[in-house]
């Protein structure tokens, strides 16, 4: 399959965005792309947006107003929660160079648990997790600068 829309990239937002822009530009109400087990179908006006990929349940044979169940696709990834940075600053996993990290992959966390520190203007802000679940990934290196809204930690709420 072409580089422009690799099936592995079927959820690539940029590509989908381009498709939607294309539709808006030309005032199309529906677009349906299929190949092998991949399919992208977008409808405007009625505003149903659906994507499906191999792992997903077979999409219903079209037109129906039904397809509401939205991104069902990477079932595992879809349920993941992400702790995002509430401010611009520097990300620290621990309270000091010798301290243990607040959280590690595999840890179970609760909303009030400190997930990390963001240092901004010499102030060390403890960032609460805000969610419950199991830590599945730390997305930023210790000591790295982070911007507002940047994903920091991935949490599986069902694990």
């Amino acid at each position: 399959m072409c580089a422009a829309l690799n099936p592995g990239d079927i959820f690539d937002v940029k590509k989908v965005r381009r498709l939607i822009e294309l539709m808006k530009e030309h005032d199309l109400s529906e677009l349906d792309l299929k190949q092998a087990d991949n399919r992208v179908r977008i409808r405007r006006g009625g505003e149903v947006v659906a994507y499906s990929a191999p792992a997903a349940p077979p999409p219903r044979p079209a037109a129906a107003s039904a397809e509401t169940s939205a991104p069902q696709a990477p079932a595992a990834d879809a349920r993941m929660l992400v702790i995002k940075s509430p401010m611009v600053g520097t990300f620290y996993r621990a309270s000091g160079p010798d301290a243990a990290p607040f959280v590690k992959v595999g840890d179970r966390i609760a909303p009030e648990k400190t997930a990390c520190i963001i240092e901004a203007m010499k102030v060390f802000n403890e960032i609460p997790a805000g969610v419950s679940g199991q830590v599945v990934a730390i997305l930023v290196e210790n000591g790295a600068p982070v911007e507002f809204g940047q994903p920091l930690i991935k949490v599986d709420p069902e694990a």
């Binding site: 808006k24 401010m87 611009v88 600053g89 203007m121």
Partner: protein
């Protein structure tokens, strides 16, 4: 010179500063809110950092976030643009305390010129004429009546913290003054959290003429002549030009000297603007100082050939301005039209949205300063400026003709803009004859 600076602003002025930096070989860190994430000018910066959500109060106006971005962006200085934090002396002070350069005047000078009251005192100290009025805030309605009788009706009530026409009222007699006092105080409190009001004589149908100044940290202050910004609608500038078309040469010279004197008295450096009103008899009165680069700075750049934003950056880096006042000679005539995303048909309601297609004008004597490209979405959260069209020609008449030509060439599809309003003004005989004062546009639209 700085190696790397942060631009604490958005839109066309952020792009303007990026351009200046690229020419100077200075790296740039842009900040953006979530609403500006896809703005194409961000690609021209060396780094771009999201500082918060769309609301300016949570992003561009948050000093802590801007400073944090400066720290993680590892910059030596911050250019504040206009609006947002540009005239916030506290922000300039925080920069200083964090050892980050502020590309603008010193906080002390900014404070001296920032408050209208202390600015008036400064003008008096520098021997610059001000509109007759109360020496400072007026304590009560009774005082207001007494002072108004002294300086003579009609009088103007102004909020000390105001701007953009908010908290302003005109009163023609005692009775009108009473209600105007109530309204102005309430409005000032609501808009600025500061009910302080002062009074001055109301100048009827004034022209708005401002002097561009530029100073360095070695005691040099120059003027780059004047801009006439009388073509306004509801105190919002629409069209600016230089030179001011009806100003006598002697008055022009006197005003420019007054502006330089005032800036020197305030210890002002960097770019700044000293605003005056000029009455029908060509008397001029100091109004205020804008302690920042202004939207309309390009008209002064066109007639003098001096890049004001590059000069600001050089001054902030400690350089001495390599200028002589006698060499700053205006050449030709420049006009700027502000192209706003507003719908003239619905009383100029802001009209944000996607620009399906834009074709910029070009050719001889045309400059286009805009961050908008085909596909750009004008966000609803900020001001509606989508671009500035500037023309430069040997004469005012030719500048008007080129502006009309360029406005008709400009295509902005998908949103409404102020282009039709500009074309109406530029076709108006009174505008051709420079019979323009700050009430001109509203009179034109009314009749």
């Amino acid at each position: 010179m700085f190696k790397r600076i942060l631009i604490a602003n958005r839109g066309e002025i952020a792009l303007r500063v990026i351009r200046a930096c690229r020419e100077l070989g200075v790296e740039t860190v842009a900040i953006f809110s979530e609403a500006d994430r896809d703005a194409p000018y961000l690609d021209l910066a060396d780094e771009a950092i999201c500082v918060g959500p769309a609301r300016a109060a949570d992003s561009y106006l948050r000093i802590d976030r801007v400073i944090s971005a400066a720290e993680i962006g590892n910059v030596q200085a911050i250019h504040p643009g206009y609006g947002f934090l540009s005239e916030n002396s506290h922000f300039a002070e925080v920069c200083r305390s964090c050892d980050i350069g502020f590309i603008g005047p010193a906080p002390e000078a900014m404070e001296r010129v920032g408050d209208k009251n202390s600015a008036r005192a400064l003008a008096r100290e520098a021997g610059v004429p001000t509109v007759p009025g109360s020496d400072g805030l007026v304590a009560s309605e009774q005082d207001a009546v007494r002072i108004a009788r002294e300086i003579g009706f009609p009088v103007l009530l102004k909020a000390t913290a105001g701007g953009g026409g908010k908290g302003m009222r005109v009163a023609a007699n005692d009775l009108a003054l009473a209600s105007a006092w109530q309204q102005a105080s309430a409005e000032a409190q609501a808009a600025f959290g500061n009910p302080g009001i002062y009074i001055e004589r109301y100048v009827e149908r004034p022209r708005h003429v401002e002097i561009q100044i530029l100073g360095d940290r070695h005691g040099n202050v120059f003027h780059l002549w004047e801009r006439d910004c009388s073509t306004q609608r509801r105190h919002q500038k629409l069209i600016e030009e230089s030179p001011s078309p009806r100003l006598p040469a002697e008055t022009r010279r006197t005003m420019c000297d007054a502006a330089v004197r005032l800036a020197k008295t305030a210890g002002y450096y960097s770019a700044g603007t000293v605003e005056f009103i000029v009455d029908q008899q060509d008397n001029f009165y100091f109004i205020e100082v804008n302690a920042r680069i202004q939207v309309e700075h390009p008209v002064s750049e066109m007639v003098t050939g001096i890049d004001l934003v590059k000069a600001q950056i050089r001054v902030a880096a400690g350089e001495k301005l390599d200028l002589r006042q006698d060499d700053i000679r205006p050449r030709g005539h420049a006009i700027e039209c502000r192209i706003n995303a507003e719908d003239p048909a619905t009383n100029f309601r802001p009209c944000p949205g996607r620009i399906d297609r834009i074709i910029a004008p070009g050719g001889f004597g045309v400059r286009w300063d805009s961050h908008a490209t085909t596909g750009y979405v004008v966000p609803p959260h900020y001001d509606s400026l989508v671009g500035k069209l500037i023309v430069h020609q040997p004469t005012r008449r030719e500048a008007i003709d080129t502006m009309i030509r360029a406005l008709k060439e400009l295509r902005v599809q998908g949103i409404k803009t102020t282009v039709p309003l500009h074309l109406e003004v530029l076709a108006n005989t009174a505008f051709h004859e420079a019979q323009v004062d700050t009430t001109f546009v509203e009179r034109m639209l009314a009749g």
